[in-house]
Symmetry: C2
Subunit: 688 residues, 2 copies
């Protein structure tokens, strides 16, 4: 019930003007007039530059910020979880038990973490489009890939910065983002998982919440901590109810500007397929994990991300299956099309809508097979990912930069090699479980008698084949990967590695499926560019593009909300954590770590723990700083509430809320629970 009316309202608005505090705004496209009109405040250029250069992107898929002049970066526990998992072993379970470096020497270097800090944005739309043939002749997708690779390489060589051309407005614009890249990142502090993720999956995306979802890293260069020019000053007092606040971070993906046929394909095919995959994995990994504590440790981060994604996507599919939602969307689209009729840009825009519908029909035909073979449905194992990367890098590297698949381009080489040569642990038993289940899914999806399936299974059952592949491959050995990576295609073939040979055996079909998708994406990008042009001409107003895992600024207020007739206050307190644990008889996942139980008498029960704001966020924003007008750090985004699960498609501020951990609560926990006074002092003072 909650979705229907609000989405009907919201969608009409999101097509034309943004609603209330809606928006994930580009740092080079801040809506100052709107903000002044709504809140009597708009950030200055200096404010924006300072916040931009204090904001950090975690390439594993999250956000963070510099919070000390000695290189301290704060993010969420669940953003750091991937690294905590990789540095754990059977006798050190940092993911579960947390970590505190008492001295700089105790800080532990991450295995393959890359952080990016945005330095500049340049609009290169005209330059990209000038070299693309319009329509369906030639190879426009290839041409676009080549021109983008050229721009990125040129920028990389000129500035030494990581340079990514980002597609905005589904193809309406192209901006060049330049990042300072850091790859020596060390763990400083993580709380117990049960404090960071108190309430587990049942409480995930719920509110009120009581989670200390933080993790602290320090950035090094040349063996020494960096001293960033920009970092956020810590607010010891933190957020107040009703206060104007900002979120600077990297929302991963939204689908608010998609057309009706694109949303219909998501509803009827793409989301159901993804959810089926997530749920089967959740079941198989939960069951395997429960067999022993060591299994549980090995699968911990995988299971977290699967459950998290499943809950997000279930909520998003529910929005798409609400008949009022697409009805409103189609009505708004129809109204816009009527306004287009007879206008100069109208004909091209109307044709563009048709072209997108055609593209969706083509995509629908190959989508499942594409996801099974080229996506992760069929081969869910790190060993396979490494095998494919070795195979393809052998084939791609000899090509000219612009002709390669984008992930093998020169501009991304450092990042690619950091991942490929990561020394992270890969567990044979877990690999077999995952590959066996995904080969089973592949067999179900494509059909047992499909020739590709027969070739993949090689006369064995999925379980047998998975075991043979995982036990037979050498790709889990980093030195083997290093040797093959530099050695070229002949050496890779000569290695006769069974996992690489599996990747090779499907690579022709897999690349062909990818080409179908890329060609249709290109067609859709051209169409969206025509629609965007018409919209800008018709509505003259500034709109924000869908999220693209690039830096955005959101704004809103600290505000509670009403639910089933009761008011949910904006801020939770430490006392609530202990009460909620007691009300569940301290049973998992509502149990508290021993040091929290011991610290109960010492902590201030009124200290703020978490709070909610109306800021417009989505997955990828995890770890984003929540900032006040003065540019100070007052909290850190870690979740949305249950009403926010439709924000993939539309923003709403009636009940949908962004959840932050409070800066004051972080200090309270560091000092009273973890005895980490030095760290708390560094946050407050901005230096060690």
């Amino acid at each position: 019930m909650k979705h229907r009316s609000l989405l009907a309202v919201v969608f009409c608005l999101s097509i034309s003007a943004a609603r209330a505090d809606e928006g994930m705004w580009l740092f080079n496209g801040i809506p100052r007039e709107r903000m002044l009109a709504q809140h009597g405040f708009a950030p200055s250029d200096a404010w924006l530059d300072h916040v931009m250069k204090s904001s950090v992107r975690f390439n594993s898929g999250g956000s963070g910020s510099f919070v000390s002049g000695d290189g301290l970066v704060i993010t969420n526990h669940h953003v750091g979880l991937d690294q905590l998992q990789k540095m754990s072993d059977p006798s050190h379970n940092y993911a579960r038990d947390g970590f505190l470096a008492h001295t700089p020497e105790e800080e532990v270097r991450c295995l393959d973490l890359e952080l990016n800090v945005l330095q500049s944005i340049e609009d290169v739309t005209a330059r990209v489009n000038a070299q693309i043939p319009a329509g369906q002749g030639g190879d426009p997708a290839g041409a676009r890939r080549r021109v983008i690779a050229g721009i990125e390489k040129e920028s990389r060589e000129k500035t030494g910065l990581r340079s990514d051309v980002v597609t905005l407005y589904q193809g309406g614009a192209y901006h060049l983002y330049r990042y300072k890249r850091y790859s020596d990142i060390r763990l400083v502090f993580a709380p117990d998982e049960q404090a960071a993720f108190f309430g587990g999956d049942p409480d995930n995306f719920e509110y009120p919440r009581y989670d200390m979802d933080i993790c602290l890293f320090r950035v090094y260069e040349n063996g020494r901590p960096v001293h960033p020019q920009h970092f956020l000053k810590w607010s010891a007092s933190g957020a107040s109810d009703g206060e104007l606040v900002f979120v600077s971070g990297h929302p991963g993906r939204t689908d608010r500007q998609l057309t009706a046929p694109e949303l219909e394909l998501m509803r009827d095919l793409q989301f159901p397929l993804l959810l089926e995959t997530l749920k089967r994995r959740e079941v198989v990994l939960d069951a395997w994990s429960a067999r022993s504590e060591e299994n549980e440790r090995r699968a911990k981060d995988l299971i977290f991300f699967i459950k998290n994604s499943r809950k997000v996507r279930d909520g998003a599919l529910a929005a798409l299956q609400d008949p009022a939602f697409l009805g409103a969307k189609e009505a708004a689209e129809d109204a816009f099309k009527q306004r287009l009729a007879g206008r100069p840009e109208g004909r091209a825009a109307l044709a563009a809508y048709h072209r997108i519908a055609v593209a969706e029909r083509i995509i629908a035909k190959s989508y499942a097979r594409y996801r099974v073979l080229e996506g992760a449905i069929g081969f869910d194992a790190d060993s396979f990912g490494l095998a494919r990367a070795l195979l393809r890098s052998g084939e791609e590297r000899p090509k000219s930069n612009g002709d390669r698949l984008p992930e093998y381009g020169d501009a991304r080489r450092e990042s690619f090699e950091q991942q490929l040569f990561s020394d992270k642990p890969i567990y044979e038993d877990l690999e077999i479980v995952r590959l066996a289940d995904s080969l089973t899914a592949l067999t179900e999806q494509l059909g047992f008698d499909d020739p590709t399936v027969q070739q993949i299974l090689d006369g064995k059952s999925p379980r047998e084949r998975a075991a043979a592949l995982v036990l037979g491959t050498k790709v889990r050995d980093v030195s083997f990967r290093r040797r093959l990576y530099g050695a070229g295609t002949a050496a890779i073939a000569a290695a006769r590695d069974p996992m690489i040979e599996l990747a090779r055996s499907i690579d022709g079909e897999s690349r062909a499926l990818r080409k179908i998708m890329e060609d249709q994406d290109e067609a859709k990008q051209q169409a969206q560019a025509a629609i965007a042009k018409a919209r800008f001409a018709l509505e003259g107003t500034r709109v924000y593009p869908d999220a693209t895992f690039t830096l955005r600024l959101a704004y809103g207020t600290v505000a509670g909300y009403d639910e089933n007739g009761a008011h949910i206050p904006a801020i939770t307190r430490f006392a609530g954590l202990f009460e909620r644990s007691a009300s569940h008889h301290d049973r998992e996942p509502f149990d508290l770590p021993a040091r929290w139980i011991q610290a109960k008498a010492a902590v201030n029960p009124d200290a703020p723990m978490d709070f909610v704001t109306t800021c417009d966020i989505i997955g990828g924003n995890s770890g984003s700083p929540t900032i006040n007008r003065a540019g100070e750090f007052i909290g850190i985004i870690f979740d949305g509430n249950i009403y926010s699960l439709s924000s993939d498609f539309a923003y709403d501020d009636r009940q949908s809320r962004a959840l932050s951990v409070a800066s004051a609560g972080i200090l309270e926990a560091l000092r009273k629970v973890y005895g980490a006074d030095a760290l708390a002092d560094e946050l407050v003072n901005g230096r060690r």
Copy 2:
């Protein structure tokens, strides 16, 4: 790896002669010569009659046996779970905490449990087939339904016994089973769930195991305990390694005599669809259950059965996806077909194989839609089941007995009404969660734009529609059901109950889909009869029919097995339970109930807990007595090991094992842990 070679061997054998201790034998078809040759023992007619009349069928889907002259019946905790759940409430969680009646007055009457005890078997094959038109003309499925309904009704009226005509050999034979029916059943004892199901889902279908999976009921008639003429004498010493043993119980379903096209459809469509449904339900109910202890209590039995089925079906699908399996099956089928060529029955049998393949293609086209609308995929809520039963009983009752859908036939009326008028608790919140998820699945499966889906959703989202239906219907009120049941179709329509109206709105399509399935089943039954006739003529040897949830006798030996180079002993001991719990730090699901921890010093660590045998069992055998040559109760079946999961399709005795709780262990637990000496004495003495 474990399946391939063994299935190749086994399947050839199962077509002709049974392997080693293979077989779920009819009580009127015991292979005495084989048993004498293999074990030097075969049961006498008196032995069989005694065991048959001591065996009990739980209509909810399990087995049991009389074990005292005062009407005591033993089964598994997980067979009784359904009833334990129904008699629980927020302040009495019998499913979790167990139960002990210290006096007859404390025995608690079950809400809707029906027990059947087989009294006789009569072969009515000739009588059934004499009235069925062969081939595809007329309405053979209807004709067969009518003649079966007539036989059942006649027998019911003549003997007063529940009378079911059972289809054997997939249509090769029809036998009339007459049961004494009991409906006043009272709970006497249940252990804690953590003792009954120690190790939970992770240990389910594993071995060694340490589960006290038992439950004791007493059968009443006219308000007094019954004194059955036949009950099993309790063996206080129990099973010995290597001993010949028997299992008398009700295996639910096997698919060993299916043809290759039938198995292929299971592999490619039926099992994947079922598993997708089970896994999505497991995820949604696990998440809901974890939100509170009361949710956990309400969903307990549902979650148990979902996880159990998922594990069974995952194992069975793995067998079907093993290429060697169907290859061997097809080779055996081809060899059989070659032997048929030129023989008198050969032509009909060869045509029959073709007819089955045609039927499978017809079934494949409508199967998913059939399962969604007529099966439980689309409407997974007790309220919907009750609404449909009311709607259809209104339509079916006025018809002549032979023209009704079988579940509305006169012979099953008592059982039907016992279920329909059951006072079991149905939870509004759980109903909404289940119906919302299944309407979501329905929308995914049939497509959002499907006219039937649009009609079902009625302009709402699946979640909204589920809430409106569950909150709007009155079918959860037993008096409402009683009123409508007797009142006829006009009164049912006049009630304008939204759930009944939903059932009505799809009933035409749903019945039509069911008719397609029934017509093809009839065609397959005729075809299987022709194949069976040819096989009997060609091989002249006695074979057992696939399982049909009717009483069967299996035999085998108490025997451990080898796994990964180690020997797994046949019998586990009480000491092992405490060791396994400690090795998991007593964490769920390896935690022990308080009274078990307290009793640790008192119990004999060497007392047997569970043991394994080579007996041929499958789901439905749960609760079956394990019996020695003397006809004494030495244990109770509660599970199979992981290797038994392919036994749907083939028997194997190398690693596949049936798991029993030991009779001596049961006494030990009753006396030392539960202080239930009177009950233990009744078991040993055969009377109170």
